[in-house]
């Protein structure tokens, strides 16, 4: 059996059900045993602007999207205009035949820079600026076109089932699109109907209508569409596989590792995590009464982290979740948590900056900012997860680090993580350990919160325990936590706090600091969500007999300089891959390891990297054809 690697794209105006359509498609494919990796792209807009979802399906583990689309389904003109050129030459396009006459001027959401590029391209190909024009190009390329009138389908369906209401239900175009696609690739129909039952389990009437529409269009595609190059009839299902949304990794991690308070201010792409936590606020506890996560929506991010610190002072594992602009507001508080040695976790789902930037788009823009956030010197941890599965376990680690080292921990995630949908191994909560460090349950007399100790970490009392009284202040303080401006004490206190950085490097296991996927003559260093595209690209190169090493940095601050330089001592060429303009990890690497990065592969278009483009760039580097700085551009 040849291996399957299939990429499906659905697009439409925001609010038209693109996301739920993609979720149904992903669920069906996952239920049929395939590995799934999907990614949502959308504008900062509620209704009308173009959004699309790419779902890659394979019969082996995959970690990213690829450039080529195998099958595109579209019920609006904009999707065709924007994506027809991504469809592979042996691929197909299912589209609403009513759209053929539409020209670009009719699509008001096509922005000028895109339209100019498209017009230039169409002119060069001598085609009209219409859907018919772009589809001619597709056809010439070898793409199979599957025109179908969505309106007719609904009309016929409404006659067949005797429900006149169905005629104008354009809201169901997404279900039609999904079902036509599944019919075309000959995926069995049952999982489709089951998944609609699941989604509309509380609205049986709506479920019924959707199932009728699904069934009708599925059969229509099977009977009327000419054969497609691809059939996906299912594969061996691996047990213990789950289909997760990106933000569920940290959210479920927080539930499991005992985060019992989260405060947040709404911001894309971070809020989904908090909303999900609140939707599941009551927790089942083994052999005990129910627990709960109190989730509070605050007036701003300053209050969000203030409440988090207040929560942490009572001994509650507390967190906030935000993105770049919100994190920027939190930095004064971060220093307060630093000087008072308060364990808080800040989950930072980065997006494209600066300022509001591309608010719904991807970027790994805030690494330098996270490392240097806050005025004055204080210890903190910056920790980065490479994928969603990792982020579940890393969340547990982050809370342990916060408690053990009594420092704020910034857990770096991003938009690529947050808006992906993927299959992975079922999370195993028992692989997470819970270590609260020197947190006290009982306090003896003459307690000093900032007592000097051998390892530089003081036993930590919490608000409300017997004899546990202590003081905190944002000023420099004595061991009790009272203000002191004494120069000798100041130096001792600074040294005590800052010694934590060495302790962190010493005590966090190396396997949690850095993950080595092998070191070769050419070795990639990277962090965060670039991991998926890198792994898949390296895999592609391996098939051609080219071995590339890859070091994934997770603990970015304090930087494990000695360990990293030891790992890389024999590598000849270091390639830094990340989704920002300046190669931020590269700067940190150079500062700490005193070695130059040989090549940068960077992406800052706001779209996630694909493995195809990472592969292409790595290949250029190996063939000695690359620029020192390769900038990736794929994605609409």
């Amino acid at each position: 059996m040849s291996s399957i690697d299939f990429s499906w794209l659905i697009g439409g105006p925001q609010g038209s059900g693109v996301e739920s359509g993609a979720n149904v498609f992903s669920k069906v494919c996952a239920a049929m045993g395939y590995q799934v990796f999907g990614k949502r792209e959308f504008y900062s807009n509620i209704k009308g602007e173009h959004s699309y979802f790419t779902v890659r399906i394979a019969d082996k583990k995959i970690h990213s999207n690829i450039n080529d689309v195998t099958l595109m389904v579209s019920f609006d003109a904009e999707t065709i205009f924007r994506h027809f050129n991504e469809v592979a030459s042996n691929g197909g396009i299912i589209y609403d035949s009513e759209l053929e006459g539409i020209d670009t001027e009719k699509v008001h959401t096509l922005d000028a820079p895109f339209k100019d590029r498209l017009h230039q391209y169409l002119e060069s190909k001598n085609k009209p600026f219409t859907i018919a024009g772009v589809l001619e190009i597709a056809k010439e390329k070898g793409i199979t076109l599957y025109p179908v009138s969505f309106k007719n389908i609904l009309e016929k369906l409404s006659e067949e089932v005797g429900n006149p209401k169905l005629r104008g239900l354009v809201r169901m175009y997404n279900v039609l699109g999904v079902s036509l696609s599944l019919g075309l690739i000959k995926m069995p129909a049952d999982p489709l109907l089951n998944s609609l039952d699941d989604i509309f389990s509380k609205k049986p009437k709506i479920a019924e209508i959707n199932k009728q529409a699904a069934n009708y269009s599925y059969t229509y595609a099977k009977n009327n569409f000419q054969n497609f190059n691809y059939t996906l009839t299912g594969t061996q299902k691996e047990s213990g596989t789950i289909l997760v949304q990106g933000f569920q990794g940290t959210a479920l991690g927080k539930m499991v590792c005992g985060c019992r308070m989260q405060s947040y201010y709404p911001i894309t792409p971070a809020s989904d995590e908090s909303v999900y936590l609140e939707s599941n606020e009551i927790l089942e506890i083994i052999d005990d009464r129910p627990g709960s996560t109190v989730v509070i929506q605050t007036e701003d991010e300053i209050c969000a982290i203030g409440m988090t610190i207040g929560g942490a002072l009572t001994g509650t594992r507390s967190a906030t979740c935000t993105s770049g602009p919100g994190f920027a507001l939190m930095t004064e508080m971060l220093g307060w948590a630093g000087i008072n040695e308060v364990p808080v976790v800040i989950t930072n789902y980065q997006r494209s900056g600066p300022s509001t930037g591309l608010p719904t788009r991807h970027g790994q823009d805030d690494l330098l900012f996270a490392v240097f956030a806050g005025h004055g010197d204080f210890p903190k941890i910056v920790y980065a997860s490479g994928d969603v599965e990792e982020s579940f376990y890393d969340t547990g680690n982050c809370f342990n680090y916060a408690d053990i080292f009594q420092v704020p921990v910034i857990h770096m995630m991003d938009k690529f993580h947050a808006s992906s949908v993927l299959t992975c191994d079922r999370f195993d909560p028992q692989k997470i350990s819970i270590n609260r460090g020197k947190l006290l349950e009982k306090v003896d007399n003459d307690y000093r919160r900032f007592e000097f100790t051998d390892d530089g970490v003081s036993p930590r009392s919490r608000l409300g325990i017997d004899n546990g009284v202590f003081w905190n202040t944002g000023d420099e303080s004595d061991e009790y936590g009272h203000i002191s401006e004494d120069p000798v004490l100041r130096v001792k206190m600074m040294d005590k706090r800052m010694s934590r950085l060495d302790l962190i490097l010493k005590q966090i296991p190396q396997s949690e600091q850095v993950i080595s996927f092998g070191v070769e003559d050419y070795t990639v260093i990277s962090w965060g969500s670039a991991k998926g595209p890198i792994l898949d690209a390296i895999d592609m190169l391996k098939k051609e007999g080219i071995s590339i090493g890859y070091i994934q940095l997770k603990l970015i601050h304090p930087f494990p300089a000695y360990y990293v330089s030891t790992l890389l001592k024999d590598t000849k060429t270091i390639i830094d891959i990340e989704a920002n303009h300046s190669g931020q990890l590269g700067k940190i690497f150079k500062q700490n390891v005193q070695r130059d990065i040989d090549y940068f592969i960077l992406k800052y278009s706001g779209r996630a990297m694909t493995s195809t483009e990472v592969y292409d760039s790595l290949k250029k580097i190996i063939e000695n054809k690359a620029n020192k700085r390769e900038v990736l551009m794929h994605g609409a």
Binding site: T316, S318, G468
Partner: protein
Amino acid sequence: MALKLADYKTDVHNDWCPGCGDFGIVNAIQMALAEMGIERDKAVMFSGVGCSGKTSHFINTYGIHTLHGRVLTFAQGAKITNPEMTVVAVGGDGDGLGIGAGHFVAAGRRNVDMTYIIFDNGVYGLTKGQASPTLKLGEKTKSLPSPNTNSNVNPIGLAVASGFTFVARGYSYDVRHLKDLIIKAVNHKGLSFLDVLQPCPTYNDLNTRDWYAGADLVEEAQQRHSRIYKLEEQGYEPTVHYNSEVEVNEKLSQALIKSLEWGNKIPIGIFYKNELVSPYTVRLQDKIPNYLENPPAKQNISKNGHPNTDISKILDSLEV
């Protein structure tokens, strides 16, 4: 053993200026704590930044000296995670009504069961006397280069409009009255606000102790040697007794109108009190049935070093 007043004092040197109105407030807080007999380890004083920010170091309970303008954010987080604590937040008028005004308004909407005391003196003392939010337009205190170009905030009015459910004003040189107000504020079920008039002897040469005492009025009004009068002595009834719109609106507008009195007659006492609005903890209890008996700070989160939270049902629903 019952705690005495002295038990609530720390031996931290108090470096406020001689004659500072803040002394009266700290004394009143300590007296209130002693009178209520609250255990030292069951109370926490949060403070902002400025002269008033040092308050938490002088009181022998948990003391958290936070950041300028942010005291309410820390305090609410602590109270919500451990509702058994008695939580009092303090700060200056610049702290709470200038840089922290957004948090002030939002706190009113939440009505977390705790107390917020503003040390109200019209100047930023610790930075050498700039105009603060309660200084009136056109007034020129000692260190201002020119008269104040901003209008003032009305703290009582803002609190009432923001949803604070206990709104009162005290005077730092009437310590006994202030102590009583603090006790009522702490016992109030919901968010209580105390605006405490507190002369800054160093930088506010307008609203001085003598001015509040009406020393300048002696010749005109022989009978009245003080600008300050007590609402309760005038038969003012601040409490909302019935949860009707008419009653609530009447008590709110009465408080707003009273809050505008200033000049030769300055009211202190309780302006508004409404315990019929649910405190935030009750709102949480409504959606998390065992929140109060098992709040975040009390929850056991592990068993043998591993999580005791069971998410298997959620994971089952994610299985393909």
